[in-house]
């Protein structure tokens, strides 16, 4: 381990230089990776232990370098590869921005950003490039978790810890740590809030404007929503799916409003498409409903604060997940612990909270809202 680190320190300044040097370096790292993968192959660890991270499990005990409470202000140099989908809506844009800003706060972190893409093939090759470059860790928000699982597992096997953000892989061996928003919890929060507003009306018409229906996250949100509504005897009467874009929200909602002449409450999964959902409601001249958003854009929070539209609440889905991924990646590489936790090593899974924002508490959440 320490031999490899020493060598890395010597060669890091040259990484960006000649391609030849890069090749030599890649040769070094791939050799050491090969040595490591023999000691840290999943087979060598018990099934309950985290899959090999290249530090710990096989060789040295983890958590020796960083000490207990928090990492030192500057540790050893950490090179983190970062790949995320294209910022085709505000939330995703905020994800990348926050990650880059987070990396900039650490003098010992070098963030290598792959071009944002919605093409899983391209994203896979980006991860392969990171593996070949021998980065210390990879923060990955996959466009599709299942499609990126195999390449992420290869990175893990090569001794590069993967921090999986937001969209989950299908294998426990594909990531060292997973940071998740709570999609199911968003649905639960939205459903619970609507229950609190309409719970005494068993005939209430509930509409739902989902995001991209083929994504597991959308299915989780819808399931949470249905489960929470079920608790107070309500159910979704009309459901449409859009695509997280403004135009999709407008089109789907225009049709939805025709399908349901009177709506008591409407939950829209995503505040970006919410601009379109709201436009459709305005175009149709409807105002009888109570609308709950999702994700937590500044736009919607401003409307909630103003209180003169149908938007009464939104459910937060933090756009700071990848930023958390970056800081966790740094802690993992430096063998440090997380904040005040007593247990050694960074936890395997961290799921963030999905609070309901209403006029009562909107001021608390406005500062972290993202621009849609």
């Amino acid at each position: 381990m320490s031999v490899r680190r020493a060598r890395r320190r010597v060669t890091t300044p040259i990484v960006v230089a000649a391609a030849l040097t890069g090749l030599v370096l890649a040769g070094c790292t791939s050799n050491t990776a090969a040595e490591e993968s023999t000691t840290s192959a999943p087979a060598a660890t018990s099934s309950s232990a985290p899959a090999g991270t290249g530090t710990g499990t096989g060789s040295a005990p983890a958590g020796t370098a960083g000490g207990s409470a928090g990492a030192p202000a500057t540790g050893e140099k950490v090179v983190i590869g970062f790949s995320a989908p294209a910022a085709d809506h505000g939330w995703m844009g905020a994800i990348t921005k926050a990650a880059v800003a987070e990396a900039a706060t650490y003098p010992d972190v070098e963030l290598r950003q792959a071009e944002a893409t919605n093409d899983v093939n391209l994203q896979i090759s980006q991860i392969e490039t990171f593996i070949n470059d021998g980065v210390d860790a990879i923060v990955l928000l996959p466009f599709d978790g299942a499609a990126l699982t195999e390449v992420a597992t290869r990175a893990m096997d090569a001794g590069i810890p993967i921090i999986n953000v937001d969209r989950e892989f299908t294998s426990p061996f594909a990531a060292r740590t997973t940071v998740l928003g709570d999609n199911y919890g968003m649905g639960v929060s939205a459903g619970t809030y609507i229950c609190s507003q309409l719970g005494d009306n068993p005939d209430a018409v509930i509409a739902e404007v989902a995001g991209i229906d083929s994504l597991p996250l959308t299915q989780d949100r819808s399931k949470g929503f249905a489960d929470a509504l079920g608790d107070c005897g309500l159910s979704v009467s009309n459901r449409v799916a859009a695509d997280f874009t403004v135009q999709g929200g407008e089109t789907a909602t225009s049709n939805l409003l025709q399908a349901a002449p009177k709506i008591d409450a409407l939950w829209n999964h995503d505040d970006d498409q919410g601009v379109g959902v709201l436009a459709a409601i305005e175009n149709a001249g409807r105002s009888e409903m109570l609308m709950v958003g999702g994700a937590g854009s500044k736009n919607m929070m401003d409307l909630i604060k103003a209180g003169d539209s149908v938007v009464k609440a939104t459910v937060v889905y933090p756009s700071t997940q990848a930023a958390d991924g970056v800081s966790l990646a740094r802690l993992i590489v430096q063998n440090a612990n997380l904040g005040d936790l007593q247990s050694s090593g960074v936890p395997r899974t961290i799921q963030l909270f999905a609070p309901v924002v209403t006029a009562d508490n909107v001021d608390q959440y406005l500062p972290t809202a993202f621009e849609s």
């Binding site: 910022a87 085709d88 809506h89 505000g90 844009g93 229906d213 083929s214 009467s237 009309n238 459901r239 449409v240 799916a241 874009t245 403004v246 135009q247 929200g249 407008e250 089109t251 789907a252 225009s254 049709n255 939805l256 409003l257 025709q258 399908a259 002449p261 970006d272 601009v275 379109g276 709201l278 436009a279 305005e282 175009n283 149709a284 736009n299 621009e371 849609s372």
Partner: protein, 348 residues
């Protein structure tokens, strides 16, 4: 009928623009020889309506719902009218969706800057149209004078325009709050949404241009046989450039409609709309190989797809099943057209 059309196209190519105006020349006559072609579309539309009334009843048959369908059809419809011209001339334009997005961003940026108070909404509209026309003419120049295949040139524009839109907007949705602009295009005239009127005007103008003018005749001639058209004295290159400019103009008009519908400009506006427009044009009976175009058919094509979506939503059915139905409709429509292709292009 199609043989007659071909002979007309050849006559046009041989005799310049002097051939007598025949209503069924391009298969788009409102009440003429194309009735047979459009009959299938009418039947399909009626069938969809019958299914709608049976399953959706009052909700489907309400005036409000019909107007909603028309309003939803308007944006794609305007794009499809421009696309009809390009496809009739044997080309294709994959960039209209992206150009639409870019034009919305251009206009919404004007509306959301600090100087927004000083910008009259006419300037927003004008700039959206200008962006569309310029992008279209760039396509046209590259295709006509650069001899680049239309598919490739417009594919490049599709990617590039989306990129420019993302750069300008920083990938953020810009909400337009300029009241006079929204009010100018919102609401109804004689009970019909203004957006639908715009679509109707564009469709009628398109029909007139294709079936009643020299420009339309030349378009058909260029699509039928570019070489013959050139020999007949038609400036094929210049005409091609104009055609893509026209498609760009319709993208600009659609962008204004999009701005009003969604009260926002966004770099994601218009995604995949080019494919919806192409699908509507093809289903409507315009030949992808060129030489035959019908605006009436295109309008039917757009309405069929929009009605389909509406029908599925009214009945609370899955989006996936809808996509399957869409695909089936496209394939069936094209299969029905095969025999026309064989007749229209005996050497192909």
């Amino acid at each position: 009928m199609s043989e007659q059309k071909v002979s007309v196209a050849k006559a046009t190519a041989a005799g310049g623009d002097s051939s007598p105006a025949k209503p069924d020349r391009s298969g788009g006559g409102l009440l003429s020889g194309s009735v047979g072609r459009n009959l299938g579309l009418v039947v399909a539309l009626v069938l969809l309506c019958i299914v709608g009334v049976i399953t959706g009843g009052e909700r489907f048959a309400s005036i409000d719902n019909i107007l909603t369908v028309l309003r939803l059809a308007s944006v794609i419809g305007v794009l499809a009218v421009g696309m009809t011209f390009v496809i009739t001339a044997g080309g294709i334009d994959l960039s209209v969706g992206s150009v639409l997005g870019l034009a919305t961003i251009w206009a919404s940026t004007l509306a959301t800057q600090t100087m927004a108070g000083d910008v009259h909404w006419i300037v927003m509209v004008g700039s959206a149209l200008a962006v569309g026309i310029v992008a279209g003419l760039i396509n046209g120049v590259i295709i006509a004078y650069g001899n680049v295949v239309a598919f490739i040139a417009t594919l490049a524009m599709m990617v590039a325009a989306r990129g420019v839109a993302e750069i300008i907007s920083n990938r953020q949705t810009q909400v337009v709050t300029v009241r006079p602009f929204l009010e100018a295009f919102r609401g109804n005239i004689i009970g019909v949404p203004k957006l639908v009127w715009i679509f109707a005007l564009v469709a009628v103008a398109g029909w007139f241009l294709l079936n009643r003018t020299t420009f339309g005749r030349r378009t058909v001639a260029v699509g039928g046989n570019p070489e013959a058209a050139r020999l007949a004295g038609i400036k094929v290159k210049r005409h091609t450039m104009y055609l893509y400019g026209l498609a760009g103009l319709t993208a600009g008009i659609a962008a204004v409609m999009m701005l009003v519908r969604t009260t926002s400009g966004s770099s994601t506006h218009g995604q995949l709309y080019e494919l919806d427009a192409i699908a509507a044009v093809v289903v409507g009976g315009t030949l992808l190989v060129g030489g035959r175009g019908t605006i009436v058919g295109t309008v039917f094509g757009v309405l069929i797809f929009t009605l389909l979506t509406n029908l599925f939503t009214i009945n609370n059915m899955s989006i996936s099943a809808q996509s399957v139905a869409k695909g089936a409709i496209i394939v069936i429509a094209v299969l029905l057209q095969q025999r026309f292709v064989v007749r229209a292009h005996p050497r192909k």
